[in-house]
């Protein structure tokens, strides 16, 4: 989805989001006139590869929000093909830039900013892990593509035939790309199918800072082990898979 269309649907009362080198930033007004609130928006568009500059620009915007607008909710709009695959980014320590962005978002959360992620087009591995996946809760449009990598590349690396992976992907959310699978595994809180403005208002009212993704994955049948294992380790008990 075009980001302008998205922004207009999310913020019918107006926004001042601008795009520069595939980096989105600005604010929008969420909710009806009385009780409406300003939301800080950061994100990317055009399936941007996340390199060190764009990671740092997003971190800067988060820090500025924390400093200048205490408590203002932050919405991260995700559309990325993943981390930029260049020697220069690795040489300059792209993992540190990604970690810095993740830490800034985490810090904002602990300063009582609500942080929401929304995958509106495409999300891939390294570009997703320090954006939508580190928010309080992440949402997606139903047509969004989310994956670690395509099945052909996965087949090459795992040495499992692509036909076998394709077969398994039919009913196993672990392998197949797609928003529905991430929903089943708890990686997404919910899909926003229609009424984006209302969905945003509802999410702002309901999310909190507790990471419940393992529990959701267990309840929805997409990740059977994670919650039980983490709980067993934490409490010294046995694993009882769901």
């Amino acid at each position: 989805m075009d980001w302008h269309t998205l922004a207009n649907s999310l913020f019918p009362d107006g926004h001042d989001i601008v795009e520069r080198d595939n980096f989105l930033s600005g604010t929008g007004r969420a909710g009806a006139a009385e009780g409406s609130q300003t939301v800080a928006v950061i994100g990317t568009t055009e399936h941007a590869p996340i390199g060190i500059e764009i990671a740092l620009a997003q971190a800067q915007a988060v820090l500025r929000t924390v400093k200048e607008h205490p408590g203002r909710p932050i919405l991260i709009l995700v559309d990325t093909q993943g981390q930029r695959l260049r020697h220069r980014d690795e040489m300059l320590g792209i993992n540190s830039y990604m970690a810095h962005l993740g830490k800034c978002i985490d810090f904002a959360r602990r300063q009582e900013h609500k942080v929401l992620g929304l995958v509106y087009d495409q999300a891939l591995s390294g570009g997703f892990i320090t954006s939508g996946l580190i928010a309080d809760a992440c949402f997606a449009l139903p047509q969004a593509t989310i994956r670690v990598m395509g099945l052909p590349a996965m087949a090459r690396i795992t040495k499992v035939p692509e036909e076998r992976l394709t077969e398994l992907a039919k009913d196993n959310p672990v392998f197949a790309p797609g928003a529905t699978n991430y929903l089943r595994m708890g990686g997404l809180q919910a899909l926003w199918e229609h009424g984006l403005a209302a969905a945003l208002v509802e999410a702002l009212a309901n999310v909190d800072a507790v990471d419940r993704r393992m529990l959701l994955g267990q309840e929805r049948g997409g990740r059977h082990m994670a919650q039980a294992v983490a709980q067993a380790v934490r409490t010294g008990g046995d694993v009882r898979p769901a």
């Binding site: 060190i52 800067q60 792209i94 670690v148 990598m149 990686g187 990740r223 082990m225 694993v239």
Partner: protein, 301 residues
Amino acid sequence: MSSYLELSARQRIPHIFDAGSFVEFLPPGARVVSPHLAQLDAPVSFDDGVVVGRGLLDGQVVFGAAQEGGFMGGAVGEVHGAKLVGMLGRAVDEGAHAVLLLLESGGVRLHEANAGLIAVSEVMRAILDVRAAGIPVIVAVGGANGCFGGMGIAARCANMVIMSEEGRLAMSGPEVIETANGVEEFDSKDRALVWRTTGGKHRYLLGDCQVLVADDTDAFRAAAIAAVADARGSAALTLEALEAEQEMLERRIRGFGDAADPLEVWRRLGVPEPAAVPMLEADAFLAMAAQHCAGPGTGDR
């Protein structure tokens, strides 16, 4: 003295923690294995490639983990990630003195793709929960598989990173970059280039790792004890530290953004003989680096 690099995850623990003090949570005897590998005809491991537990470090209660590079490159699957998250949560519950992570991982386990990706992000949040509780998190990187992908990011969420020069810390592996953008972008067979780009010395000079040690378990242990003492009292993220890190990372792009090779980065840092850096022993390197290092002492700065 023994080589950290050559030991398995299980062998490293008694060398780093006080001997005999480590108690493992959900040990191999519990037989909790990955639910996803069997259908791919891939072997499972009774610890899913990670040891988690609680021990003593110089007499203090320190929670820890060690990833096993020999099992699927230390990659994070559903169970592996959940063990880390459970241990990190328990460190908070029990008021640990610190957490020490011996990381060796290629990142997300592709056999469990989507579950692995979510798991790594859960580990990152759990590490930051520990720090927010005022408990320092220290990372050691010195295994043959390095620390890559999402775990390369997770490592930099810790208070401090300790590396040996043989350790490697980055995000995308050289093979991945070569496959995506060609051999002229990154020649994964050029071992010297790979080491210059991802190895401990470059990371230390840039400020991505705060302590560089020789490939020796005693050196890692001593560095871990010192790092815990250093980071106690300043474990949690602060606005000041994050602003300083923002400035450091901006400065790095301004200073080295147009450099084509780490040798050029080192030259600009004032290193007298960049080409000789890979050959320097740890002590000689540290003496030289003391005058030419870009990054100051702690993880976020």
